[in-house]
């Protein structure tokens, strides 16, 4: 098995993203219960519309070489 190493342009990108993430986290303000109205909007949900998300994943993974998300993967298909 061949393992992968992270080449330098990727290292720069990784660094940028980690820094960006850290900025987001430092922007955390305590959110009180009465301030959650906007977070309850449908567009603010992290989980997208289930059927559309499943179809997106199916289409893109069968036409592109990349796959994977935060949720565990489903099964494969013989799509060619």
């Amino acid at each position: 098995m061949q393992w992968f190493s992270i080449s330098s342009p990727d290292r720069r990108l990784t660094f940028a993203l980690v820094t960006m993430g850290a900025c987001f986290l430092s922007a955390c303000a305590p959110v009180q219960p009465w301030e959650r109205g906007r977070l309850a909007q449908p567009g603010m949900a992290l989980e997208a519309d289930a059927l559309l998300a499943a179809m997106d994943e199916h289409v893109y993974t069968s036409k592109e070489a990349a796959s994977g998300s935060i949720q565990p993967a489903g099964g494969g298909c013989g799509c060619n």
Partner: protein, 318 residues
Amino acid sequence: MSQAPQAIRMRFSTMGCPAEVCVYASSVTEAHTALAVAGCESRRLDSKYSHYRDDSYLAILQQSAGKPGGMTVDDETAALLNFAACQYQQSEGRFDITAGHLTRLWEQSPQVPARSEIEDALSMTGWNNAAWDGSKLTLPAGMQLNLGAIVKEYAADRIALLLRRQGFDAGYVDLGGDLHFIGPHPDGRPWQVGIRHPRASGAVAGTPVSRGGLATSGDYERFRLDSGKRYSHILDARSGWPVTGLASVSVLAPSCLLAGAVSTLAMLLEKREGLDFLEESGLCWLAHDGDNVFSSIPLKGVECGQSLAVCNSHGVPM
């Protein structure tokens, strides 16, 4: 000796309103337990949040107004203030628990208050002038709190919760028109509720309810007539004037507190806006503008078998 459970209705009085608790019980002792639970909890909340007592927790909180350090409140009060803050935000300032002066002015003045008196009362109103961090409340000097519009609904929910914990799962709590239905009749039949006409006697509609809170805001029982003009007891804390939109709004929601907040918010909007807000809410509701009935469900006429008269509902306990 125990028999098949029967519906037992018990009347009492709390927060200046006639109240009723109804449960299915198989003995008088069991039914009395329910009444004791309801009486205890409503007395506890009345003595804690009444603004007619000098020794209530609310009065102590009131006395902290103007003190720079403010006052750290207990968890229950903090949660109520959180809810009130959310109502303030969702109503864009029309609903405001700091409008104590304004409420008193309209309640106590023999005629319609003068514009200058209203301006004065508004100058001592405004939740955004109070500092609230989730546990400590700092009120500016002279500001008066009024939790009357929340506490009665909250009490109905609390009593229902305590009754459910005691094992009562069929029945309802009615605190002067603020209702919480614990569960349907043991055979699954819902309770039939009649909703009163805001201008005439008799019911506008009957609706079956199994569970949840039902609250009505309306100008039919508590209002004033001045030079032939009808003034609602629900005040817009931004303008200082009584609302002029819908005449009454009843809402069915998971809790009576939420039902009360939604019906009040609808009353605080202009008629069209209020109806749109109700339409969007996703809850069951019924509104009356004095002439016509509007509802989230097609009305099936006025058939109330075991009808409950949903009397006046809302606002400041008298």
